[in-house]
Symmetry: C2
Subunit: 431 residues, 2 copies
C-alpha cells in the first residue's frame, strides 16, 4: 500500500526516489563505510515527513517503543538484526535485562515490551524486566489484553553489577528514555554493557545536537547524490533560556522564528512551492509529543495564549522547558484513508527492520501527529528490499518509496551516532 | 503449511522439537560461541530428512543454487544476511564478481543467478557475471522466461587480479562447485577475496570429511541438549578405491554396507523402529544427484547390474567414481500432496534465510529426490522466528518445525566450517 500523496507524481521527491534507487549500491556502500567509523545506536526509530517537495526526519528516538505496531512478517528481520547486535556486544551473553518506562498502566506500551522480549528471546537470550519503580518490591505479573502477562521485577544492585534476583545479565537494555534524569541505580555500571548509553537519555540529549549532526550527514549524503541537502534536511535554530510560564526568552524565540521563516520562504521561492511556511517550536530535550507548537507568524510568540503556555510549559515527567528548538515545519502530504499520516521507521543495529504509518484523522498537515487520536498502519517494509526496480514509475511503488524512507531514517541514525560520540562524557578515555 | 508426517505426533522427533524449542536461548548462544571460533561458509544449503524417529542432514552444498525457489517474502532476510557477510569480508567493496556454473542452457539455474544478483545488488554491490566458459569472448546476454536477461562476460585475468573488462571486484563469489577441477584462471588469486575458498570445491572436498565433522558437531550439540546424537546424525563409512565399471573395490563396499546395516539395525531395535534399514551409496565428491544408489542388502553390491553401473560410474562433468561414501539411509516420511518431500534449508553467512520442500512424486521414501520430476514448495521460514511458543503441540506448528530444521541445517553449516578449516591447504600460514 502506498498512501495517497496529494502532490503530483513529478515533484522533487519523485526525482529523489529515482536517484536513490539508481544509486542503491553507492548508498549502501556509503552506509557501510560510515559504520566502519561509527557505532550505530542499539535501536532507533525515526519519524519521517514527506512533503512531496521535501522529505526529512523530524524526530529520532533512541529508546523506541511501538515495536508491537510492526507486522509479524517483519519479526524475522528484527530477530536477525538483534542477533547481529548481540553478537558484536556480548556474544557469550545468556541473559538480557530490559529496563522499561514506568507506564505499566499503558496497555500499548506493555505490548511493545512483550514484542521486544520476544525479539531478544528469539535472538537467543533469556530476557527479564527490571523496573525503576521502587514501589515494586517483588516479582509482579502485569496482564495484557490477550490474557498473557509479563513480569516486572525489582532491580538488584551490587557494588559493580546490576541485575535481578538470580539473574545476572551481560547486557542491560534501556527502553526508558531517562526524561526524569538518571536514577542512582544506573550509576557506575561498568562491568556490564548498559545500552543505549546514559547520555543518550533525555537528561543529557538535545535535539539541536542531533539536528546539527544530521545537517552534517545530510550534506555528505547530498554530495554523494549531487543534490541540494535542503531536500532532506529540516533547518533549525535554538533558544537556550525560555520560560513559558513567565514569557522569559520570548525575544529570542521571535527573532529566530522570523529568521527561520524567512529562510524557508527563500527556499520555497527557489523551488516554486506555494505552501505557507511554518516553524515547529518544541522542547530541546524530551519526548512523547508534549510541548509542541506550530508557528506560522512570529507574532504568535509575542504574547503566549494561556493554552500555549499550559501546553508548552511542562513536558514528560514534569520537566520545566528552558531550552527550545525551532525547527522548519515539514508538512506531511501523505494520507491514509483521508487522515494525515507520517511514516515511522524502526531500526535495530544498522538494519531497517520495519515501520508503520502514524495516522491522525484529527490533526492537520502542519501539526504533530503523535497525539491523542493517533493510530498505526504497518508499512510493507518486508517487501522493501524485494522490488526496487528502476522500471517502476516514481511514487507508484510501495517498496521503492519505503526503501527511500529507510535511507532517510538511516541518515538520521548515522547522525545519532555522530551525536552520541560528540556528547560522550567518557570520550577522552578513548582518545 | 506443515506437510503431513506419516508418523504419529508422539515420536522422538516431536520430543526433539519440544526440547529444541525449550532450549532456544541456549541453542542460539551455542551457535554464537561456535561462530566466535569458526568462520561460517559464505552461503550454504542443506538437505534435511525427517524420518519421524530421526532428523538428519544428508547433503551440504557450499555452492548452493535454487535461490529462486525461496519465496520473495524471504528476500529481505537474505539481503540483510548478505549485508552482514559483505561487511565482514570487504566493507569498502563496490563490485562483486559472480562466477556461475556452465549450465547456461538451464533456465532454472539462470533464475537462481538472477536472484543471487538481486540479493547482492540490494545489499549494495554492483554485481556482474564472469563465466568460466572460454568460448564466451564478449558480453553475451542470455534470456530468461520472463523476458528479462542476464549478461555473461569473459573473465579477464591480470597478474594478481581477476575481473571483467572495466570491472575490478573486491570479492569473487563462486557459484560453481568446481566438480571439473580448479580452472587455471582461478589459481593464485591472492589480492582479492575468492569465496567460497577453492578447497570447498568438489575437486578437493569429500563428503566423508564433512560427515566426520558433522558427527563431532552432533555429539557436542547432543550433549548440550542431553540426547542421543544418533537422533540427528547419519552414520557412514568410506571405501577409497572403487571402480564401478570393472567392479573393483566391491569387497570393501559389501563389508562396509553389512557393518553399517547391522549398526542401523541395532539402533532401530533400541528405539523400537520397525522400518527396514538401508544404506545410500554415493560418490564421496560430487553433486547433482547423480551416482546415488539405495542398498537394502549387501548382496546387491556383489554383482552390479548394468543399470547400477551406468548410474554410478559417471558423475557430473564426467568424473570417474573412485572414492565412495556409504551413508545410513534416512527415510523421509514427509509428504506434500502425497508426494515424498524433504526440506532444503538456505543460509547466507550464519543466518537461515529461507528454504523449500523438494518434492518428487515419482520417488520412494528411501530414494534420492534430487532427480528428474522434482518440484519445489517454499517453506514458510519467514514465520519461523515468529511463533516458536512452547504451548503449541509438537509437530503441529509450521514455525516450530521449521525452526528445528533451521537448527539442524546450521549444525551442518558448523560442520562445514570445521571441515574447511581441517582441509585448508594454507592452514599452516595461520598457525
Amino acid at each position: 500500500m502506498v498512501p495517497h500523496l496529494i502532490t503530483a507524481l513529478t515533484g522533487p521527491i519523485n526525482e529523489l526516489e529515482q536517484r536513490i534507487l539508481e544509486s542503491l549500491p553507492a548508498i549502501e556502500r556509503w552506509f557501510r563505510l560510515e559504520w566502519m567509523e561509527h557505532t550505530p545506536p542499539f535501536y532507533t526509530s525515526v519519524d519521517v515527513r514527506n512533503a512531496g517537495f521535501k522529505l526529512a526526519p523530524v524526530d529520532t528516538n533512541l529508546f523506541p517503543a511501538g515495536f508491537h505496531n510492526l507486522t509479524v512478517e517483519m519479526l524475522p528481520l528484527a530477530v536477525q538484526a538483534a542477533m547481529a547486535a548481540i553478537e558484536k556486544i556480548c556474544p557469550e551473553a545468556k541473559n538480557l535485562l530490559l529496563i522499561p518506562e514506568l507506564q505499566t498502566g499503558n496497555t500499548f506500551y506493555l505490548m511493545n515490551l512483550q514484542r521486544l522480549m520476544q525479539i531478544f528471546h528469539q535472538a537467543g537470550l533469556n530476557v527479564r524486566l527490571g523496573t525503576l519503580d521502587e514501589s515494586v518490591k517483588a516479582a509482579t505479573a502485569v496482564e495484557l489484553p490477550d490474557g498473557s502477562s509479563i513480569t516486572l521485577e525489582p532491580l538488584l544492585r551490587t557494588r559493580g553489577r546490576l541485575g535481578l534476583k538470580h539473574f545476572d545479565p551481560c547486557t542491560i537494555l534501556l527502553n526508558n528514555d531517562l526524561s526524569g534524569g538518571v536514577p542512582r541505580v544506573l550509576d557506575n555500571v561498568h562491568e556490564q554493557y548498559l545500552l543505549p548509553p546514559l547520555h543518550a537519555g533525555w537528561a543529557t540529549r538535545r535535539k539541536t545536537n542531533h539536528f546539527a549532526a544530521y545537517e552534517e550527514v545530510a550534506k555528505k549524503f547530498a554530495k554523494l547524490l549531487g543534490m541540494d541537502p535542503w531536500l532532506i534536511n529540516p533547518m533549525f535554530a535554538r533558544c537556550g533560556e525560555v520560560n513559558f510560564s513567565d514569557a522569559r526568552g520570548t525575544e529570542c524565540l521571535q527573532t529566530n522564528a522570523e529568521a527561520l521563516l524567512a529562510k524557508i520562504k527563500r527556499k520555497y521561492k527557489e523551488y516554486g512551492i506555494s505552501e505557507k511556511p511554518f516553524v515547529i517550536v518544541k522542547a530541546d530535550s524530551g519526548t512523547y509529543g508534549m510541548g509542541i507548537m506550530t508557528v506560522r507568524d512570529p507574532k504568535d510568540l509575542a504574547e503566549f495564549s494561556p493554552k500555549a503556555r499550559s501546553c508548552m510549559s511542562v513536558t514528560k515527567d514534569g520537566q520545566q522547558v528552558s531550552e527550545v528548538i525551532l525547527q522548519e515545519g515539514v508538512p506531511t502530504f501523505e494520507r491514509v484513508n483521508d487522515a494525515v499520516a507520517e511514516p515511522v521507521v524502526y531500526m535495530i543495529d544498522r538494519y531497517v527492520v520495519g515501520g508503520f504509518y502514524r495516522v491522525n484523522a484529527g490533526r492537520g498537515i502542519d501539526e504533530n501527529l503523535n497525539a491523542p487520536g493517533a493510530s498505526f498502519v504497518p508499512l510493507a517494509f518486508a517487501e522493501a528490499h524485494q522490488l526496487p526496480k528502476p522500471g517502476v514509475k516514481p511514487g507508484a511503488s510501495a517498496p521503492n518509496r519505503f526503501y527511500m524512507y529507510g535511507v532517510i531514517a538511516r541518515l538520521a541514525m548515522v547522525a545519532a551516532s555522530y551525536e552520541l560520540e560528540a556528547t560522550d562524557p567518557n570520550a577522552e578515555v578513548y582518545e
